[in-house]
Subunit: 325 residues, 4 copies
């Protein structure tokens, strides 16, 4: 197990150039590596389905979620507009039907939630580095009215295709990786080797560290949302880039190893991935049930359907990713 | 074209009994006709994929949506927690990073929205008839904290499988059906015949009336959200029941014909479908691009992936349904 | 110092009858003891103003407030609709002005908050006892659309008049009273005596326990929002009733002593006060600066202006009470 | 009646200099003309109280308010967290009390609202002109986290003192002034003369145009929120400045005449008042009942208590202003 800590600023600068995909798909592109997913690859991906069993990779959306206030995030708040109590007490009648008695009652609700509070995709408008975002667009394009470009709307036709689970924790014989443990290219490749799976161009790679399972087993999210965590090291970008991965997600709050590796640049993996590479990132994915199944049948590839909600100017979206094996 | 208006209360009562699926899947069942979707059928459904082209069936989520206040619903409100302006002006530094200068800036947002304000699934907890909901559960199970049973959480593993588009408008040579036009079993069957498609057990049926296209072509939602509309007549339940359809969605606000057909019972199709049959309903589905494609290649079946967000106690969920052909 | 713990259920029942004001101001009354405030008393109350100095009794409204999730409450969430960053970057122009360059920019915001999350008034619709609320109205009158009666709207003309601070902590030579310490009638009277103030009919009484000051001095709200606290004992109702107090507020989360005194009935002081007596209650009032001033000049009476926001169907309202000395 | 339309840009520039109060109260001042209100003036103001009758000047807060979406504003949304239906059906017990049966039930709610959607104060952080706000502060001080300076928090000790109603409509024998009618200094002075009232330093002036009464009489807000309206002309600033008025409010959505008078500068009165003069502005004040009373007793001065909620970084606040005569 190798892990390179303390990347210097100049080394980091070099990475932003080496992995940049700016203009690769045209100067107006807003989708980045999702361009690796073609209809032909989607067609091929559905052939991964053997049993038809589906696995939801989303955590439940309610007040018991992991958020503790960091970055102003909070757990989903669901508030009823009409409920069964209104029906039973008769309040419904005068409230909604103008006093005319009827037999039918409906229920409705409003949700208030940060789009990144639970299982979600980060769009390419989520990170700004030195005032620019993916494809060289100005930070000013994300104003109080949201993202005019690079946002989640660019992927509204779906983030779907062949999914591969790299269960790094299990491959390395661990229940969960330790906070601060940065996953390198070599370890990703090793995990794939042990699983007997090959990652191909356009795949969506799900990296399991066991960090969510650890929270689950202690029965408390604790500092899951923002504390030290295992995750992808900057070094892993070589493998991701070479394999032409379309998107990467993990079972942690922030996908990359925390604390991170560059003193001068906050969340450096996010910067290289989202701003330069144009790689859409998924976070807080619950991979445990899927991992259990993959371990039992030895198949780590599947069809993944993980479409975001089409917020016109959203920088992210909650998602209920479904893996079908 | 036949359409039965003015169903009497006793005829309506008879329908609630005839189509009831209470206890069919056990007295604790909360999924209703989604039980028709089995892993085997999902496995078969992916074989519908030929080109790998994906079609999002969701309308954009923003303030320009169709809601006009009926039933307390409003269009999505997206509010930024951190944006590009904060990065450019330098405000970000002191707000979020404790005054320590860094290169990385992130953006974030909060959404406030009724779960039924745009493209969505109604769960079996959405409608209450005479104080009960699907499978005989008490209306009291939907309180101010949401649905303790029958809610959208019961379908978190995905509403996915073989989808069939019944483009009734096009099949009948119309641009759009007229408001008040109730679609019968016979017309659904006729549409399938003309399209050369056969609906099978466990299919998800998408009914296109052209009503959304009409709003689009006039450039104004108008009374789309709650006004008179074409839609499913009570008579269509025979066909839906016989074919063992898993879920039905349409391109209208309320799926059923408006004004509806029973004087004494508000939205009677919803009542029979959601409360008695246990049929999950989809509304405000944008079927126009998909319909265009189906008309051009003559194939009206596809793989549909339309998973709701897993609100633990939600009565509905916004959804971005993806049809893959 | 006497404190009666362990009131029995039958003793409690007796209190609900003894202090009931149902029908005292007519069967349609929704204002309860606020009826003690008459124009003549308001006129007299302004004569309490000697220096013209004003003291805000509200805690700041922001994410650093005391709420920790109990009863689904959270601290205020303020989200900008338009901000200065939009102005500086130029985003404002295209977002709001249709591309036409102008010199003027405006800022705007949305707040999401429980009405009881910070300094607030509880209306008479806040508590329900055995399915009824003040003046015998049915619990059903508070539905998903809010309070049809007894709500905060009934006091929209203002909760204002002569205010009296009873600084019980200071009167008893304490920095703060201990959690669990229940304040009796005798102790309220003693505090008034030591302060040299006399409480009159129609006064608004502010009771200071020092519990907020304790949180402030330890620099952490801790369990302020819902934990054990000093506060009014059931016994204090005799004094409140006899003096014909119009409203009572305190520097704690829940005004009454916690843990409370009746095993079978949750928050019994709230029940007698709000449901039977019709006494509007104020909570999370910051009385510290005012108390300091009163101690220094020896005057504990003042003009108090503490109008709620007129939510048509609200059960409570945030308030910025102003004491003018 | 004189009204100067078509102020040139150079004339406008001259006004921003002539009426500037930057540095008048120190370079760190954030309160502007509220500094005219001193304890001595508050003490004098309470002497205006003769009968003790109070008038709320706030419109009701609910979904029937005037907002129609302009500038992203919407009417208040009140959503119940716990209600009477939960009590009656028994749902409350399991939801909130852990299954232990008790007699007490409480109700609670969450409000979602723009702070400027109904009766409100604009703080000095509400308007930015050429990237600066009051006292020369940078627009950057209003970021996604709100106003770091000049915000509504600066007036948390209350906006209160002597209030004077200038019922311009009535003084001129009109039911309501016409949209587009700009009120000049001369007309304000004339109204005061006819009313027999003299405006003094530190007064809060309420200007009644009859525009809200017009909406009320037609039973529909129509374009009240943002359409053409009568209101203060730039010319009125001379009188406001000379009289050292502390704050100004009106019965319109935007206080100033609409359409406004300077081609190149949007809402020019706001700019001079808020950015240069530092004059806090109140909008959507309901002055009709108060006006009726003033007309009947001939007294147009009173004590006004109109404290904002202390949003730490708010740019505005809803308010329930109370006039006491």
């Amino acid at each position: 197990m190798t892990m390179k800590k303390g990347t210097s600023l100049s080394e980091f600068r070099e990475l932003t150039e080496r992995y940049s995909n700016w203009s690769r798909w045209g100067k107006d592109d807003q989708r980045g590596t999702l361009n690796f997913i073609t209809p032909a690859r989607v067609r091929a991906a559905v052939r991964e389905v053997r049993t038809g069993r589906a696995f939801s990779l989303a955590i439940p959306l309610d007040s018991r979620g992991p958020q503790r206030g960091l970055f102003g995030r909070f757990n989903p708040i669901l508030l009823m507009t009409r409920d069964g109590g209104d029906a039973v007490t008769g309040a419904y009648t005068s409230d909604w039907l103008g006093g005319e008695e009827k037999e039918t009652r409906s229920t409705d609700e409003v949700v208030v939630m940060p789009t990144q509070c639970a299982t979600h995709w980060d769009s390419l408008a989520h990170i700004i580095h030195r005032d620019v975002m993916y494809n060289g667009r100005s930070a000013s394009e994300v104003s109080s009215t949201g993202a005019k470009a690079n946002g989640i709307f660019a992927s509204r036709q779906g983030i779907l295709g062949r999914g591969v689970l790299l269960d790094v924790a299990r491959a390395e014989g661990r229940t969960s990786l330790d906070p601060g443990d940065g996953i390198t290219s070599e370890r990703l490749e090793d995990a794939a080797d042990r699983e007997g799976v090959r990652v191909r161009e356009g795949d969506i790679v799900l990296v399991r560290t066991g960090h969510m399972a650890a929270a689950r087993s202690r029965g408390d999210w604790g500092d899951y949302a923002g504390g030290p965590a295992p995750g992808l090291a900057l070094d892993s970008l070589a493998w991701i880039s070479e394999r032409r991965v379309a998107a990467v997600a993990a079972d942690t709050w922030g996908i990359e190893v925390q604390p991170h590796q560059v003193r001068e640049v906050h969340i450096p993996f996010h910067v290289v991935a989202l701003v330069y590479m144009g790689l859409t990132l998924g976070e807080i994915f619950d991979l445990d049930a899927l991992a259990e199944d993959c371990a039992s049948d030895g198949r780590y590839s599947f069809f993944l359907s993980a479409q975001p909600l089409p917020f016109t100017r959203g920088v992210a979206s909650p998602v209920n990713p479904i893996a079908i094996k």
